[in-house]
Amino acid sequence: MRARRLPLGISIALLIGSSLGIVFAETTIEVFLCAELATISAFYIFFAVIIPALYRTGMDTEKIFLGGLAKSPYLSGPELFSPGIPLISEEIDEAWDLYYDQTKLSSKEKKEK
């Protein structure tokens, strides 16, 4: 987790620095510097998000080349390729993944879904 925290911390510090920098900026070059710092931060966040977003969230383990094994390796298809939420150290909320809380919705309603 800490490895993820440091770049995020630097990124947010750059945002705060560039915002406050505008208060003290006197020349166009200084304004450009502030804008550049904010852009660096934006690109870091963008790339931190893009990787998990484009990652496939599940696969058919049967399709893995088994190298002569009789049965598929002990792998869970949905979990195998499921990176967590980028930048936020929280787990994906599986209960709300279908736009309703599957743990609390009545069984009849779940069936209807």
Partner: protein
Amino acid sequence: MTTLAPLPFIIMIFSAVASTIVGLRSIALRNKLIATSFAVAFLVNTYFLVLSLERKFIYDSLGEFTFNAASIYVSELVLLLAFLGAIYSFKYMEERSETWLYYLLYQLFIAMMIGMVSSFNILVIYLFLESSSVTSAILVMFSRRRSSILAAYRYLALSIFGGIIIIGGIFWQYQLIHSLNLAEIGALGVGQVNLLATIYFLGFGVKAGLLPFGLLWLPQAHSEAPIPIHTLLSAALVQVAAFDIARILGSMGIVNSYIANMLLAVGLASMLAGSIYALVEAWFGSRYTRLHVGKKHIRGIKRVWAFSTISEVGYIAVFLGLAGTLANSGFNSEEALVLGFGGALLHMYNHGFSKSQLLFDSGVAIKVSHSEDLDTMRGLAKRLPVMKISFAVGALSLGLIPGTLGVSTLRELVFNSNVPIITKSAVVATAAISLAACLSVWSNVFFSASEEEDNRPTIVPMALRLPGLLIGALIIIFGSYFTLEWSGIVSTGPALRNALRILAETTIKARVGG
């Protein structure tokens, strides 16, 4: 700096850092610090808004910032909604573990929005636009669904696309006039102004959610965000971006017919398309509207509000375009500015209030029904008896019904003899479709048959109930005032018109008459 006008911006930055440090020790103390910071920032801003509308405060500069009547007016809406959203979040997000990051980004996001409206330097506006994208994109993912990651990615990708267009415009502007100040664009030739206007309109239009690019990210990002963030994105951020469009294109001259036609065409298209999408989503769901990032199709309540946001920003663009159209057709250009830009600024409050009211109440309905899908959100009238009324207030205001805040838009666009008939027809059609969508959601959530056996009133925590009720009350109070003033029962003299004149002029200039 000669006054305390920039204080709300500074408070938000320092409170973001201070509350994070305090939160390491005590969550309760952190929440108190956040609420106090928002309250102080809001009160200071209100004080300067009153002064500026009475012409006792002209403007204040701090570095590249310029705080004037129009910027303070838009900041007021942002701060009010952010204050209520923070109170709402204390309860709505209390079960989450990473709240320190949530509140840090939340307050920075508000500071960035204030920054976006408080400068005439295009590079500074761009900087805060970029920063607001970063903070809000991370906040979108706090829903913790897989689909919210995809929504945040699309949002960031489109924001960076818009940013690249803007930065291209900024470099070209600097090459032409060696200045980043919007006031100096007037020195350019008509062709150059038109091209620069198109570039900035495209770039900021992405963020404002206008067609065509708004459809690619807005419904997904807004509907995937947690309710308080969805509220800020829909009711504040898109309007802040629309205000920047008004400031930038207005600085290029409101009598420019090319800019006026561009605003009018895109505004009308966004207005109609957004409302039609909202109605189709309310009736048939994402199977027909598409533009969905979830694993399965739903009839998403938040998606209805997201599509409706595109429509409401369209109104603002139409207002801005009308200013130019009227000025070009022999109408007094000062009056055209008041009608167009003043009307747009009034509509920002109508949309901001009604959308936030609907979203705050929708959040409670989602909590109670454990669903965001209209197919399973049913029959809550007995469980949420007060909310079934307050929800209707927001819906009626969005449908421009007299007695609500929507009456100001109705009056300026439909009952104004200077507005072309085609625009009037489009506005009437949009209002009717929006109203149908809102009432469809209302009847579905509260009055359709429910399988639920327990129909006793649900006790909703005050932190979740208060924001919606307060905004609902403001819609009724201001709406009644505007309705009575329109019907001639109450007379305000020239006060309202003068206030609109100050706001409209300070949107495009640092000071009135300057």
